[in-house]
């Protein structure tokens, strides 16, 4: 079987299965641990509790005024490449078709050359982010295999995707095969590393916001 057929055939099937199984396992796994009931009298109504939770999902996307001086640049860098990634993954027609065959719905995409420009910009930001992780003393101390490998596999997907669209680096079916295979590896890695934050981020912010609102505290 040639590389491309393998990557988008059996490898993809296995990758998706591991992804779904792993994500399910991981989330259910810790959610089954003990839940503590809050017996203290809340300061806020249930409505406020819930609504503040929802608000926190968005409001935590940008630091409070008091923190911007120290964290604004870093957070802006992080969010920028995320936006670039979302644009490329969700608005490039071949990707839309891929997702369409998984979920049964499609939507309009952006011109491919615009996507290429966004990809190049995103990749540059992504490299900047690695540079920051390695040079910033706090991040360097915190970082482990998970951080570097998750970066690497995402970068590989981006680079091979760019190479495929630009038709550079070898015969197209090989480059495309490598690109899809790297996506397969990313899917398999996903449940085991920090990429899970994609699933965690909204509930985590919501819970934090809600619990703080419960006390009438700022969030």
């Amino acid at each position: 079987m040639d590389l491309l057929s393998f990557a988008r055939g059996p490898a993809l099937k296995v990758a998706l299965a591991v992804f779904c199984l792993g994500v399910g396992w991981r989330i259910v796994g810790f959610w089954l641990l003990r839940h503590r009931r809050n017996l203290n009298k809340p300061r806020a109504s249930v409505l406020k509790f819930l609504s503040e939770g929802f608000v926190a999902v968005g409001s935590r996307s940008w630091p409070h005024r008091e923190f911007i001086g120290r964290t604004g640049a870093g957070e802006a860098l992080g969010y920028s490449y995320h936006l670039g990634l979302f644009a490329v993954v969700l608005l490039f027609t071949p990707h839309i078709l891929f997702l369409g065959s998984l979920f049964g719905i499609t939507w309009p995409g952006l011109p491919s050359s615009l996507i290429t420009m966004i990809s190049v910009l995103t990749l540059t930001l992504f490299l900047a982010v690695l540079f920051r992780r390695v040079t910033n003393p706090v991040m360097r101390m915190l970082s482990n295999f998970d951080d570097y490998f998750s970066w690497f596999i995402t970068a590989l997907v981006m680079v091979t995707g760019l190479a495929a669209t630009a038709h550079i680096g070898g015969p197209y079916q090989i480059i495309l095969g490598v690109h899809i295979l790297s996506v397969d590896v990313l899917l398999i890695w996903f449940p085991f590393g920090k990429l899970m934050h994609a699933f965690y981020i909204f509930p985590s912010r919501a819970i934090n916001g809600a619990l703080l609102a419960r006390k009438g505290a700022v969030s």
Partner: protein, 441 residues
């Protein structure tokens, strides 16, 4: 090993007197066994962005990465992943995470106790919405179980659990309280069988700021509210909370709870103390096992309500340029944002706010028991400088706060730095500016 070892060995029941290594292993095992879904979720969500460091004044003052808040719980993240996480068997099987060692935990004592005020500022900055301060609290529980609470905190917690006082005093606090009543000519209702409001005092005030104790008594007398102090539940602070001994925290809170129930109080009034508010308002019911049959109010909340209801009237206070320090446990973690400012407004005070105020205020530097830990003093002083500068930058003449431990921390800094400001109690200011006659007797 730890400073607390000697004390622990003597104190623990025979079956719990294990070797330090065994104790550490037991504590970590206990941590992993008892970790709940929410704490687990928080540990899972960390993406190593390091942004929490930028909220922590220990990091800001020193630029030392080890003070990154989430790094303070690193051994616990390790233990969770290795023993309680969904993929724990995989981690163990493939040797991907090692077991936390006793040495590691000893190293971490400095990070979890000396360099953390439990102020909660990190919980406001985390982009993933992780309550890092809550994780620190959890970690302290395991440190306590491992016999690694700093001796000053441990000893005070043990003493308070046994006697109701964190430390022995020349005279029992009960006697000192009555003496304050005499000295300041104010009523001290003590050990009444029934009362609507149960009162307690910060022992810091008994020992260092008796005028604040008098202020509390005076304001309550002025309002004519049915109230009492209770000899068996007098101290507001909770050293079990600082030391991380959860069951001891419960036992200490229970004193106040039981007395409040005994007198059929509707309100348990927390005096000017920050962590007493956290321990009683937001943690006591869970430790008690059921909802409390009374309301817990901080004195500023209580007075602000009285003000709102028209039962409390205040005169104008001539304080000149004034600024206010928001105690972390009261405002940021406690949710009592508006009450202090309502009281100050009623006295005609227009605050020159600190650059970081309200829920974003920097901790005084003494919170979380740090003030009690001797060896932490140099780091504390270094870290406090930022806060003192902020206060100076407002150009204020009068500096107010509403927590006796904050007050003590600032006054300690005043001595150390020859700082030109004294710290004043908001409650004392209120007591000085009561207007009109009291409504009830």
């Amino acid at each position: 090993m730890s400073d607390a070892t000697g004390v622990l060995a003597a104190d623990l029941a025979p079956e719990q007197a294990k070797t330090p290594e065994a104790r550490v292993a037991g504590a970590m095992h206990g941590f992993a066994q008892e970790i709940g879904a929410l704490s687990a979720f928080r540990l899972e969500s960390c993406i190593h962005c390091g942004i929490c460091a930028d909220a922590c004044h220990f990091y800001i003052a020193t630029e030392d990465p080890q003070y990154t808040p989430v790094w303070k719980v690193e051994p616990f993240k390790q233990a969770y992943k290795r023993e309680a996480s969904p993929f724990a068997p995989l981690y163990r099987l493939l040797g991907l995470k090692r077991a936390v060692t006793a040495d590691q935990l000893v190293q971490w004592q400095h990070l979890l106790f000396d360099s953390c005020n439990m102020c909660g500022r990190c919980s406001l900055i985390c982009p993933m919405g992780i309550d890092v301060a809550a994780l620190i609290e959890q970690a302290r529980h395991a440190m306590f179980d491992a016999g690694l609470a700093p001796k000053e905190l441990y000893q005070k917690a043990a003493h308070q659990r046994a006697t109701g006082q964190p430390e022995a005093s020349t005279e029992p606090y009960r006697e000192q309280l009555l003496a304050i009543g005499t000295r300041f000519a104010v009523e001290i209702p003590l050990d009444k069988p029934e009362a609507e409001v149960m009162l307690c005092v910060p022992r810091t005030d008994i020992e260092h700021y008796p005028s604040a104790v008098a202020a509390l008594a005076r304001v309550m007398q002025h309002l004519g509210i049915s109230r009492t102090f209770r000899s068996d539940g007098l101290v507001a602070e909770n050293y079990g909370y600082y030391a991380g001994g959860k069951s001891w925290q419960r036992d200490i809170s229970l004193r106040l709870i039981e007395q409040a129930i005994l007198v059929k109080a509707k309100t348990l009034l927390v005096p000017e103390c920050g962590h007493a508010y956290t321990a009683l308002r937001w943690e006591a019911a869970d430790l008690y096992g059921k909802p409390l049959p009374f309301t817990v109010r901080h004195v500023t909340e209580f007075l602000a309500d009285e003000l709102q209801a028209g039962r409390l009237k205040l005169a104008q206070a001539a304080t000149g340029k004034t600024t206010f320090h928001d105690p972390c446990q009261l405002v940021r973690k406690g949710g009592v944002n508006d009450a202090p400012r309502a009281l100050m407004k009623a006295m005609g005070i227009e605050l020159d706010e600190l650059k970081n105020h309200g829920g974003f205020s920097f901790c005084c530097g003494g919170g979380g028991g740090v003030l009690d830990i001797e060896r932490a003093a140099p780091l504390r002083y270094r870290t406090m400088q930022n806060k003192l500068r902020e206060i100076d930058d407002t150009g204020a003449e009068t500096f107010l706060t509403s927590c006796s431990d904050c007050r003590r921390t600032f006054d300690d800094a005043q001595a150390h730095f020859s700082w030109n400001k004294s710290t004043h109690s908001l409650l004392e200011l209120v007591a000085k500016n009561l207007a009109g006659a009291g409504n009830r007797t």
